[in-house]
């Protein structure tokens, strides 16, 4: 359109000028009107007024130009004013056609296109040139056939510039309508062979375009292109074509692109261009911008065509030059090149990993984006979490829409933290107030449109998010009547699929909106409707709303706008209710029991019903919870809690009594010393492993950098750590296989072990000592040994029932009837009656079991206990225990606590003199555990007297303090036999320390929603906070983040990546534990373990 304006402009002076050459514009009525227009505009103060004025002006102009009576002169005047309006940016396209008419009337100008015919036939070179330029600038498709023959003629023109422009015009035609220039393809070839370089260069545009569409049709031209490039690179062109002493750089770029397209996936064609590419790389060495442009093109071509290792090496070096360049433009291109080649050559990413990490936080968004693009391309199963954390939303609309999609697809299966964090993000906002409001307004509008659709089902969580946002921010969308929003919410209240939970959200939102509107019919209707609702909750909300509506001032104070992030002081201990509680208690009400206590009581009741006398773990936890109390500033409620537990104390005493009885029976020399020494033992390697894990993290998998580890500053270490998490699984050496990763793990361990050599040797001697003391008395007392073995068998039988009683279920549904049905329980009942002795063994299952089986083994055949493969031996692991055995086969297990999973190493040992065939190991599906890869393993053959082993990685799917993983192993000897076994796994097997800074801890803490608090009494032996914390660190594998005064913070994670944070505080002999985690069952489970270890130590 600007062309039209230009035309008009060109017409006007011609019209104005010649007719009134002497007349000053000021004196003309035309310009005086324009003058007054300008004057009135400059006198205006606001953009709004200007708009109004111009609209008026345009309206009057419109009427005037369309009127048939308007004289030529008047028309001219109108045009001038119209141009001014147009220049101010207002729409005045209606005038164009009049302008053109006017221009034609003046007979001074014809439309440019109209004159083209003449121009093209003109003998004047410049005229032809200009005509051709116009052709390639803007040209209607319909007119191509008319001018095509003329332009074809020009291809034979003697002057090279004309030929060049003709080619360019044809290129234009090719773009607009490829079919119409099909018949002149051989003329393009002629142009390519033109003796003038400029013409040839112009034809390359066409070829690039054509080859892009169909590369196979032009393979025969490869040699020509190579020849041309060779000549250009070799400096055979006239010196005119040099740019900063580089021969025709743009031509080179064009040719390299064409070659890339031709050589793609075609070894034979690629063969032809290797030499010239090498030459280009070599020549482009002067340090100038344009040579880098050529280099970049070369690199891209080399990576596009069929690969040749020599060239790839050189290209990779080139990419390095770009990436490491201090010039930001080159760095950007380097990243771009990396993005292209990263999938072919992941090692390159490894080489430049530190640069990539640095660019991740680059202030320039385009560099950041390109880096993210690289990360996106190297994403694999192992680093996806870290990479996704680095991504960000490009704009508000995208963010809201993506979250909408997440909510509607994920629905109620979403983790509760996701909607919570989303709302927090909306509410807290960023630094930019305007941006925040945009985001919120966008959200409000988007939700309103979503709710507009009738009969669409949305998940409850999504509804809640929408409702909250509408309640909080609907007033930001000023053009939306609050009444409409209220009606939407009201109609939602009546939907059957809306749960009562969501209804409460709706009422809260309605209340918030009500506080901002004066009066509303919908609210009145709503109050009336729900004041008599059968749902007491709704009725309460309705009454609240009603009373608030009566006192608008109070309502406004209560519900200030956008105050969701302001701190509200809450008396978390609910001390103001103390009086009420005391009164209730004095009237004989039952005291309040916290969740854990109730659950434990439930457990105890179950046991009482079953006449189940054992349960040391239970007793210990009860005794600890006996002194628990809600953290409260007033002694009152604390007192009431303690009194609440008093009812249980009697119960606990009976248990303790029984246990003590058993203990006495065993005597001091028989069992107790063993228990103590053994108790310490499995923990020691774990503690050592903690240290190793922590140290191992900061080192990098690539060996080249490992030497420098010590010299790195903290920040660099952080980057290195990030690098190692980002680039895991890349490169040829690492692969995706778990074996590869294991190598890395051992490497880490070795490095660490050098540092900690002395410490380790100390530990080793400790273990030896304890072993000696363990074995000593036990081997003497043979009967005890026998009992042990027996106990071990019972243990195995009883495990299913143990699982059911020890599990802290995620939900409260704790089904006793179900667990009764389990066959294991029946076994256990009969067992417990038959052999009271073995019960004791069972209650100490973790401590007792490994040693007993090991002892059994050592008594029978010491030689056949298998040992771990070397690479696992160095990781923290449990002892090798026997799982089951028959005459022919024995199965052993060793738990290896790896960083990222629990590894079960299983050993199948053939005890017979002949080979066993088709040995099949299968784990059954367990409720709580997940075996990564396949749950089965087949040993095709196990030779006589030999041991085979396999490895299984396990994660905990559903949290429980202890659970079993049942399985069976079948084999073929004389006949097919099958042995059943089960592996006991504890929550602690899946807990790993989580390293973080205090700052990160704070952030994470705030984002987590599941709280569990408990106070436990500290034993005199560990009365200091640090002693208590180090107990937790050693036994539970928690990472101590920070200790400040009498407070400490710790962090751990449940594999694969569920964090759990712990805040500890000591006061007057008590340790207040406060857990937070995104998973509701994890704090419960950990609390239980904490109580247990604190009790034991």
């Amino acid at each position: 359109m600007s062309d039209v304006v230009e035309r008009t402009l060109s017409a006007l002076p011609a019209l104005l000028g010649p007719q009134h050459p002497a007349a000053g514009p000021g004196r003309l009525p035309a310009t005086s009107r324009l003058g007054s227009l300008i004057r009135s505009i400059t006198a205006l103060t606001s953009k709004h007024e200007e708009e109004k004025l111009i609209q008026q002006e345009i309206a009057s102009l419109k009427a005037m130009v369309s009127a048939p009576t308007t004289t030529l002169r008047l028309m001219k005047e109108c045009m001038v004013r119209l141009i001014y309006c147009e220049m101010l940016g207002y729409e005045s396209s209606f005038g164009y056609i009049h302008a053109i008419k006017l221009a034609q009337q003046g007979n001074l100008l014809e439309k440019r296109v109209g004159t083209l015919g003449y121009d093209l036939q003109s003998t004047n070179l410049v005229e032809v040139c200009m005509a051709l330029t116009v052709v390639s600038q803007i040209f209607p498709r319909e007119m191509i056939p008319a001018v095509l023959p003329l332009i074809e003629d020009k291809l034979q023109h003697s002057k090279e510039i004309i030929r060049r422009k003709a080619v360019q015009a044809l290129y234009k035609f090719y773009l607009i309508a490829p079919n119409q220039v099909q018949h002149i393809h051989d003329k393009f070839r002629k142009a390519l062979c033109d003796r003038d370089v400029g013409v040839m260069a112009a034809s390359l545009h066409i070829y690039l375009e054509m080859i892009k569409e169909n590369s196979s049709g032009y393979k025969d031209l490869t040699e020509s292109f190579v020849m041309i490039l060779k000549q250009v690179v070799g400096g055979k062109l006239p010196i005119d074509f040099n740019y900063h002493s580089v021969p025709a750089p743009w031509l080179q770029i064009q040719l390299l692109r064409i070659l890339g397209l031709l050589g793609k996936d075609d070894p034979r064609t690629s063969e032809l261009m290797y030499d010239v590419l090498d030459e280009s790389l070599r020549r482009a060495e002067i340090n100038h911008n344009i040579t880098y442009a050529i280099l970049f093109e070369c690199v891209q071509t080399i990576y596009t065509i069929h690969p040749k290792s020599e060239l790839l090496e050189k290209a990779a070096k080139c990419i390095g030059k770009f990436v490491l360049s201090p010039k930001i433009n080159l760095k950007y291109l380097g990243l771009k090149a990396l993005t292209c080649v990263i999938q072919q050559d992941p090692n390159l990413a490894l080489q430049h990993q530190m640069t990539i990490i640095e660019c991740l936080d680059h202030p320039d968004p385009i560099i950041k984006k390109e880096t993210l693009e690289i990360l996106y391309r190297i994403t694999n199963g192992q680093n996806v979490t870290v990479i996704v954390q680095k991504m960000y939303a490009p704009d508000n609309g995208w963010f809201i829409q993506t979250m909408n999609a997440v909510f509607s697809v994920g629905g109620d299966a979403l983790h509760p933290d996701i909607p919570n964090n989303f709302l927090r993000l909306l509410a807290e906002g960023f630094d930019d107030r305007k941006e925040d409001e945009q985001l919120r307004t966008y959200a409000v509008r988007s939700y309103l449109t979503l709710l507009e659709e009738e009969n669409t089902f949305y998940p409850q969580k999504f509804l809640q998010v929408m409702i909250w946002v509408l309640g909080e921010y609907s007033s930001l969308a000023t053009d939306v009547d609050p009444e409409i929003i209220l009606t939407r919410l009201h109609s939602l209240l009546k939907k059957t699929f809306v749960t009562s939970d969501t209804k409460a959200w709706i009422m809260a939102a309605v209340t918030k909106i009500a506080s901002r509107t004066s009066c509303s019919k919908t609210i009145d209707k709503l109050i009336k409707e729900f004041s008599s609702s059968l749902d007491t909750c709704m009725r309460q909300h309705a009454f609240e709303l009603k009373h608030l509506c009566e006192d608008k001032v109070l309502m406004k104070n209560l519900l200030p706008f956008d105050a969701s992030c302001n701190d509200v002081v809450v008396d978390a201990s609910l001390s103001f209710l103390d009086g009420f509680v005391v009164e209730g208690l004095s009237h004989g009400a039952a005291p309040y029991k916290p969740h854990h206590q109730r659950q434990e009581e439930k457990l105890s009741q179950e046991k009482a019903l079953n006449f189940e006398p054992y349960g040391l773990s239970f007793a210990s936890s009860v005794s600890s919870s006996g002194i628990t109390g809600r953290q409260s500033p007033t002694g009152l409620s604390f007192g009431s809690d303690t009194s609440g537990n008093s009812a249980e104390t009697g119960h606990k005493e009976t248990n303790t009594l029984k246990l003590e009885g058993i203990r006495k029976l065993w005597g001091k020399e028989g069992y107790l010393p063993k228990k103590e020494s053994k108790a310490g033992k499995p923990d020691e390697p774990q503690a050592a492993s903690c240290g190793n894990l922590l140290a191992g993290r900061v080192t990098d998998p690539s060996a080249s950098q490992s030497d420098q580890v010590s010299s790195f500053s903290e920040e660099e270490k952080e980057k290195q750590q990030l690098a190692s998490t980002l680039f895991v699984g890349l490169g040829s050496n690492a692969g995706v296989s778990l074996m590869g990763k294991m190598d890395v793990a051992t490497q880490k361990f070795k490095r660490k072990s050098k540092i900690n050599e002395t410490q380790n040797s100390e530990e080793a001697s400790d273990i030896q000592n304890s072993d000696a003391s363990t074995f000593g008395p036990l081997l003497d007392t043979v009967p005890v040994n026998k009992e042990d073995c027996e106990g071990n068998k019972h243990t195995r039988l009883r495990k299913p029932s143990l699982c059911s009683s020890d599990t802290v279920e995620d939900n409260l549904a704790f089904e006793t009837p179900q667990s009764l049905k389990k066959p294991g329980l029946n076994d256990r009942l009969s067992d417990s009656r038959l052999s009271p002795l073995s019960l004791f063994a069972d209650s100490n299952i973790e401590i007792f079991q490994p040693s007993s089986s090991a002892l059994c083994e050592s008594a029978n055949k010491t030689s056949s206990v298998p040992s771990l493969p070397k690479e696992l031996e160095e990781l923290p692991h449990s002892e090798v225990v026997e799982l089951c055995q028959s005459d022919a086969l024995a199965l052993y297990l060793c738990k290896v606590w790896k960083d990222d999973s629990l590894l079960l190493a299983l050993f199948a040992s053939n005890k017979k003199g002949s080979a066993l065939n088709a040995v099949n190991l299968v784990f059954e599906k367990a409720e709580h555990f997940q075996i990564l890869e396949s749950p089965a393993h087949q040993f095709s053959v196990i030779e006589a007297q030999s041991v085979e082993h396999c490895q299984k990685y396990v994660w905990m799917d559903k949290i429980c303090t202890q659970g079993i993983l049942p399985g069976s192993i079948s084999y073929q000897s004389e006949m097919e036999s099958c042995l059943e076994f089960s592996v006991t796994l504890s929550l602690l097997d899946f807990i790993r320390p989580m390293e973080m800074t205090t700052e990160d801890f704070g952030k994470l803490w705030l984002s987590l929603s599941n709280d569990v608090k408990q106070n436990i009494k500290m034993l005199p032996s560990q009365d200091s906070l640090s002693a208590a914390l180090s107990t937790l660190q050693q036994k539970l594998k928690l990472h101590i983040v920070d200790i400040i005064g009498n407070e400490g913070i710790l962090a751990c994670q449940l594999l694969p990546s569920v964090p759990c944070l712990l805040h500890c505080r000591t006061y007057s002999g008590m340790l207040a534990l406060w857990f937070r985690s995104p998973c509701s069952a994890l704090p419960d489970g950990l609390l239980y373990q904490c109580q247990k270890v604190m009790e034991e130590s």
Partner: protein, 191 residues
């Protein structure tokens, strides 16, 4: 101070379809581009991703900053970024040669000439000529023709000069073509 954002080859978005983009969209593109480019630091790279207006992430803005002027090219993925950067340099050097010490007023009052020069270099969205001498020769030839004919291409320039010399008391110093509206600020008296 005012800055001029020269919109060079929107020709691309314009030519490929065969239909020009609407005036409104052009205005919007220029405004958005100016907004994007003007707030960039000195030490960031000269490439920039444009929004949806310029055809999504496939298209890139490549700019160079000369004093108060930004030269912005919008290119698709088939162009070499560094190549275009140098093309801008060639363009500016050529402008300098043609106008003899070019300044922004030259560009404002001789938009036609600027476009002619650009048309010699970039034709139909494709880099045609990068040889400065060749371009200057062509432009000179055209100028001669113009003078002799005083028609065609000379007309717009005269239109501009006619408007420009309409007895305005003073020519405003800061003309903001950032959002292309040539608004005359604070004219005190107008006779």
């Amino acid at each position: 101070c005012g800055a001029t954002c020269l919109h060079a080859p929107w020709q691309r978005c314009w030519n490929e379809e065969g239909v020009p983009v609407s005036e409104d969209t052009q205005q919007q593109i220029i405004r958005e581009t100016f907004h994007l480019v003007s707030k960039r630091d000195e030490n960031v790279c000269n490439f920039l991703e444009g929004g949806l207006l310029i055809g999504g992430s496939d298209n890139k803005l490549i700019y160079r900053h000369y004093a108060t002027l930004y030269f912005v090219f919008c290119v698709d993925s088939s162009e070499s970024e560094l190549g275009i950067l140098d093309l801008i340099q060639v363009f500016v050097e050529t402008l300098d040669k043609c106008f003899e010490n070019v300044c922004e007023l030259d560009l404002i009052f001789h938009v036609d000439k600027v476009h002619n020069i650009l048309a010699e270099m970039v034709m139909g969205g494709m880099v045609l000529e990068t040889n400065m001498n060749e371009i200057v020769t062509q432009i000179d030839a055209q100028n001669k023709l113009e003078k002799s004919e005083a028609g065609l291409a000379g007309a717009p320039a005269r239109a501009v000069s006619a408007v420009k010399n309409m007895n305005l008391p003073e020519i405003p110093r800061n003309i903001n073509i950032g959002d292309i509206s040539i608004k005359v600020p604070n004219l005190p008296t107008f006779k």
